[in-house]
Amino acid sequence: MSIFEYNGSAVVAMVGKNCFAIASDRRLGVQLQTIATDFQRISKIHDRVFIGLSGLATDVQTLYQRLVFRHKLYQLREERDMKPETFASLVSAILYEKRFGPYLCQPVIAGLGEDDKPFICTMDSIGAKELAKDFVVSGTASESLYGACEAMYKPDMEAEELFETISQALLSSVDRDCLSGWGGHVYVVTPTEIKERILKGRMD
């Protein structure tokens, strides 16, 4: 079994009309055994940038702590929040620093940039950025997620419709993956508010 599949995870982000949604599953497992069903994989960096980390849970936690630290320093020095594109470059640089002993995570970054234009990107465990205009996925359920998102996505969805779409895509994908699931955690972010919702899916 690959070390990326040790804990199990699924993360997806989608772009809507002046909004974005980022969702993850809630399972924390140790190979075949489920340890917890309320594990947080998505973290807020600031009101307009979120990062979802899939992969090995210990590196998810370490990397999150390092990124929050770097962002807080940035806020102190620049007296403003980081733009999502800048934050993505920061994550990429931090991952590539460990090129020959990497953090075993695949981040999904989603944010609202200038003029409330949504930005999403994903990268592999050594920081190769993959920008997309529609959706990005990562985790053990990524192949199912690609299929589900490709089928369900349409451009310029409003926040409510985007929430429905990303939830259905997430739940149907994790149902085909034994290592991820046990519900879902969805954040829908518009320029004015952040809506956090917990999904109840198949609890197995």
Binding site: V30, A57, T58
Partner: protein, 204 residues
């Protein structure tokens, strides 16, 4: 194989651990205490490589005491758990410790809490947790009977159910267990469950 498990009840947390010290096919002793009292209101139940287990938990205990001496107030359970995770995470890519930890503690504000800390430094706050082959039996038994507002008597009954399950279903089941509890009155030993006692030639 080492069995450690624990759960949180109404204003208390209980942890139980087997007490066999085993080297290959030989049982060196069967009253080895694997639950260390960290400070007045914290317990660490550890399982894993014997040298690492003792060295690492003593290291954590001394650092927790040092903090208290330097700052005049004790660490909260969450802080101690995060400190432990940090030490494991730092050592992970240099000189890893093979120790799995369940940290139970009581704080005035937060109440009783239990933290699951993997040997690869995955940290998660849980209501019930377990390590080892025994976890396959104890986690399922706890899933079936656990409620969040259990009294001490009900929790001890559940712990006994788990011990019975481990003894009857695990092929090399440890004969003896120690149960420790932490609540507002502090961390202390609660009971032993012994089916085999040390035999000396004098007693024969």
């Amino acid at each position: 194989m080492e069995c450690v498990f624990g759960l949180v009840g109404d204003g208390f947390a209980i942890v139980a651990a087997d007490t066999s010290a085993v080297h290959s096919i030989l049982v060196h002793k069967n009253n080895e205490d694997k639950i260390m009292v960290l400070d007045s209101h914290k317990l660490i139940a550890a399982s894993g490589e014997p040298g690492d287990r003792v060295q690492f938990t003593e290291y954590v205990q001394k650092n927790v005491s040092l903090y208290q001496f330097r700052n005049g107030i004790p660490l909260t359970t969450a802080a101690a758990a995060n400190f432990t995770r940090g030490e494991l995470a730092t050592a992970l890519r240099k000189n890893p410790y093979s120790v799995n930890i369940l940290m139970a503690g009581y704080d005035k504000e937060a109440g009783a809490s239990l933290y699951y800390i993997d040997y690869i430094a995955t940290l998660h706050k849980v209501d019930k947790g377990a390590f080892g082959y025994g976890s396959y039996f104890s986690l399922s038994t706890m899933d079936r009977h656990y409620r969040s507002d259990m009294s001490v008597e009900e929790a001890i009954e559940l712990v006994d159910k788990c011990i019975l399950e481990i003894r009857s279903r695990l092929v090399i089941a440890p004969p003896n267990f120690v149960i420790k509890i932490v609540d507002k009155d502090g961390a202390r030993e609660h009971a032993w469950r012994q089916s085999v006692q040390d035999v000396t030639t004098a007693s024969l």
